[in-house]
């Protein structure tokens, strides 16, 4: 198993502020500044490949992790991760920077994951619960899952949620995005996201309680 350091951001540097400091933590502001620089370099044909390579190296683990949690299987996650970055390559030149680069990447990844799951159902005319059962079976088979029993129960609880609600849960609980950032990713209002997450937590807790009673 490869050990990964999930913190892909560099150490924040000390800044002297001439006016009031930015509202965000220094590390987040640093990330935004780095991303702006990378986008500028991407728009220059001479440095495009280099800039894109840096973007991939910076965000590949997080993009992959998000996708893997949705589709479970590594090969599927690999395909979708590559597709995410290929689409990013094609459209980054026109990126309007109305959102952050990483929320924009997450949005592509989220759409790829949701479309993949949707296509899977349509292609085989599989009822909703069968795709979920297939994913649960992959978790049970142990192939690639490293969590303990309770984590396995949590993942199975998540599989009982509608795909988009599961995505919302993953972004909040595992990625620890703010609701504003999640709103950029999912193009859903903050209020709707809060309600969705709240209901997801209730359903999961009920599932876990029932699962504990049965075991």
């Amino acid at each position: 198993m490869v050990q990964h350091n999930s913190d892909t951001q560099s150490e924040p540097k000390a800044y002297m502020y001439l006016s009031k400091p930015p509202a965000q933590p220094a590390s987040k502001a640093m990330t935004q500044a780095e991303d702006k620089e990378l986008i500028l370099k991407f728009r220059d044909e001479a440095s495009r490949n280099w800039a894109f390579n840096q973007i991939v190296r910076k965000y590949q683990q997080r993009v992959y992790a998000n996708i893997r949690k949705m589709v479970v299987d590594h090969d599927d996650a690999n395909d979708l991760t590559q597709e995410t970055f290929v689409k990013a390559w094609k459209h980054l030149a026109n990126f309007r920077e109305e959102s952050q680069l990483y929320t924009w990447l997450y949005r592509i990844a989220a759409n790829e994951s949701l479309n993949f799951l949707s296509r899977k159902r349509r292609r085989f005319f599989v009822p909703l619960h069968d795709v979920r059962r297939e994913l649960a079976t992959k978790l049970d088979s142990g192939a690639g899952f490293t969590g303990d029993e309770i984590q396995l129960k949590l993942q199975k609880a998540l599989l009982t949620l509608p795909d988009k609600q599961r995505l919302v849960f993953n972004l909040k609980y595992f990625e620890e995005l703010t609701y504003e950032e999640m709103s950029e990713v999912t193009e859903t209002s903050v209020g709707a996201l809060k309600a969705s997450y709240h209901h997801a937590v209730k359903k999961i807790e009920a599932f876990l309680a029932k699962s504990m009673d049965q075991s």
Partner: protein, 137 residues
């Protein structure tokens, strides 16, 4: 049980050794293939358009000039190379590789230089490996 009672584990799945070291290169390779496929699609589309009008004219001429009775069938040996090529371009049942292979063997460039596509020189000189051609397409 409350969700907050659970220890939050962010790393839940095993990943193949060296996966993230190799992924950027794989992505660049995929982007390269995607760009080549788009170039081919553009060139092929342009080629079809370039020959569409003359081919249509030829088809109309052939329709009116070629006898319709069975007593005097069209002699395929009497067809010119241009007529054969136009047929190949219009015949949608043919595999793309068969059409491209014909043009390359006949020494024609397909106008690909206009699309910035370089056909490997060895393909113009030697027997083409269909597998290589399919990979290239």
């Amino acid at each position: 049980m409350k969700l907050d009672d659970l220890k939050k584990e962010k790393e839940l799945f095993t990943i193949p050794e060296g996966y993230f070291e190799d992924l950027p290169m794989q992505i660049q390779a995929t982007i390269g293939q995607s760009d080549r496929a788009n170039t081919w699609a553009w060139a092929w589309g342009g080629l079809k358009l370039k020959y569409a009008l003359p081919a249509l004219s030829l088809a109309l001429v052939a329709y009116f000039l070629v006898p319709k009775s069975g007593t005097n069938p069209l002699d395929i040996n009497s067809l010119s190379t241009a007529q054969v090529e136009e047929y190949l371009l219009q015949e949608t049942r043919l595999d793309d590789t068969e059409v491209v292979e014909y043009f390359i063997k006949s020494g024609q460039s397909l106008g690909l230089e206009d699309a910035g596509v370089n056909v490997p020189a060895e393909w113009l000189e030697n027997e083409i490996d269909t597998e290589d051609l399919e990979d290239y397409l």
